[in-house]
């Protein structure tokens, strides 16, 4: 039983980091009032650029490149939605589509449709104290970024609630006009959040190609960005909530896989497809039970216009 739990925990923690980073990116952007349905695309370019960069530089540095790439794509979204007050959903969907098709195209043009050549994977850290402790063992032997993913939500939470910039961020997502009349720049705050969100989503993507895998594979991130978006909403736009949601999704998936292998007889009763649907069904049920009313930032999705009051 303990072993089962341990395996479940390990599997959850191993799959969660990319989702956590991307979800945090979503929270950052959306707390400032900019809807970010483009997480999937930002993850994709992050994954791609990190893998490409890792071919010619140390992998940790390449991860930074991936982050910058995510931020660059997010900037397109920012430019359209902040500077030009475009519909944020439209420009988010658009960068997804472009990243999807463009990624496949570039991959094939530069390398081969099979993916980039293999790169040096990020090392895994074994935590000396834990390696022998049952259950807690599961916390050891994850890629370095996984530990960052466990830490970052708390840092983000602290920043959001205990620093000036966090206060301004919360304010600009609720009532940008209030922020503007105090002489702060709404655009600058939102730009910061969108670019920061892009950095995080790019990091999430980079995790996929440098830690989960050792190359960019043509299907990356296979819907994970939309999952992250769901985690943002499920987590009620808070860093810790999104973190919990991301862990929940990963856990649901790990549980599904674990169930299939630890109780083979189960599969004769419950079809695999049903188990596959389980995490999503659970999410739906939980959402239905908890209700979702009015937790979104008030100004989410509304472009800031000085004249409108």
């Amino acid at each position: 039983m303990l072993e089962l739990l341990e395996a479940l925990l390990f599997s959850t923690l191993d799959a969660a980091p990319a989702l956590i980073f991307a979800a945090l990116g979503g929270v950052l952007s959306e707390r400032a009032g900019v809807v970010n349905v483009g997480l999937e695309g930002q993850m994709r370019v992050g994954a791609f650029c990190a893998a490409v960069a890792a071919l010619s530089m140390p992998t940790p540095l390449a991860v930074l490149v991936g982050m910058v790439a995510g931020a660059a794509l997010a900037s397109v979204h920012g430019y359209l939605s902040i500077r030009w007050r475009s519909d944020q959903v439209v420009s988010g969907m658009a960068i997804n589509l472009v990243a999807m098709a463009g990624g496949t195209f570039l991959l094939e043009a530069l390398y081969s449709p099979n993916g980039t050549p293999p790169i040096a994977q990020l090392p895994r850290w074994s935590l000396p104290g834990l390696a022998e402790v049952p259950l807690l063992r599961a916390l050891s032997n994850h890629p370095s970024l996984a530990y960052l993913a466990l830490l970052l939500p708390f840092v983000f939470h602290a920043v959001l609630h205990h620093t000036p910039v966090g206060l301004r961020l919360r304010a600009v997502g609720e009532k940008p006009h209030a922020v503007a009349t105090l002489g702060l720049s709404v655009a600058a705050l939102r730009w910061g959040a969108v670019v920061g969100g892009g950095l995080l989503a790019g990091l999430g993507g980079a995790v996929l190609s440098t830690a989960v895998l050792d190359r960019f594979e043509q299907h990356t991130p296979a819907g994970l960005g939309f999952m992250a978006l769901a985690a943002v909403v499920f987590g009620r736009w808070t860093p810790l909530g999104a973190f919990a949601a991301a862990l929940f999704f990963s856990f649901g998936n790990a549980l599904r896989i674990g169930l299939a292998s630890s109780a083979p007889g189960l599969l004769d009763v419950i079809p695999q497809g049903f188990l596959l649907a389980l995490p999503y069904l659970l999410t739906l049920i939980l959402l239905a039970v908890q209700g979702q009313r009015s937790s979104a930032p008030a100004a989410l999705g509304t472009p800031y216009e000085q004249e409108s009051r």
Partner: protein
Amino acid sequence: MGERWRSAVPSLLSVALALGVCWVAIALTRDAEVAGEAYLQMLYGGLGQWPRFLETGDVGTLTRPLGEAAIKAAILLLTGLSVAVAFKAGLFNIGAQGQMLLGALMAALAGAHLSLPSVLHVPVALLAAAVAGAAWALIAAALKLMRGVHEVISTIMLNWVAVSLVDNWLAVGPLRASVSGGHSISGTAEILPSAQLPRMLGDLSRLNLGFVLALLIALLVWVGLFRTRRGFEIRAAGLGAEAARTAGIAVKQRTAEAMGLAGALAGLAGALLVLGTEFRYPGSLGAPYGFDGIAIALIGNSHPVGVTLSALFFGILRAGGTRMQLLGVHKSFPELIQGLALLFVAGRLVWLTLLRKRRAVAASTEVPRA
């Protein structure tokens, strides 16, 4: 009317610019000649191979590409309308994909397991698909209206549930076609000939009644939204829910109706695929038509006329895009063009500003008004 046309200008310019950018991309990775040739091939593939036709007189060289473009356009039109109708009611339907899946499955079942005369069988199968799609969409609507769950997240979840249940279970398990000798077969049992959408040009093209049906449905949606009381109420509920409620409109009901309609439209898209070309639920629905619907709707300004034009254009592009591969041009170009076009549409205000500047210059020569 002038105003309406002017609002289409950004979309038109966006599509043109996207075509231009992709042309440059091909020209840079290959050369200009290939780029030009590729676009020509795309036209052949989408609108018919006219030179070959004039040379050989083979009608198939015209009708086949046109038929393929029409088939794709019809499906895109229905998923695009699905997204657009939901938009009109203030909902963002990311779930067209899942609704389409369910629709396709039900059409396949009704087509295979009912035996009816053709005049009844096709409508019944279509109806089954519409009902299935609507039911799937109404789950999201119920969650939103009763529990306040945002439809974006619930439809994303429902998409995954649909794929898991249908593609990973029903289509490969209980509903799989029976085959003798352990051979693999993709998907459910083949539908009866009576349930097939009639081909309009016989063997000259796969063009079927589905295309006409889709256009007709677009017309109905347009009339419904803009010419009827119900449509007016749906739009009012979408644009200003509180005001609509104050005015005595049953907002929740209208929202649910719109979402149901959106689901039905997506379900019909699935039915067109099954009854028109695949004749069975093909194991998994490869192309993400449901997601494409979002782009189609947005580029078409969420207006039935705009959606129709945008679906026709991208139908042609998609059908013709295959031929670009003949020149070694990458298979993802049609999607790239679509994505870029949406990106440029997102910059609608940039276009409008540019255009207004020009108009302002023109206007300044007029006599100033009092």
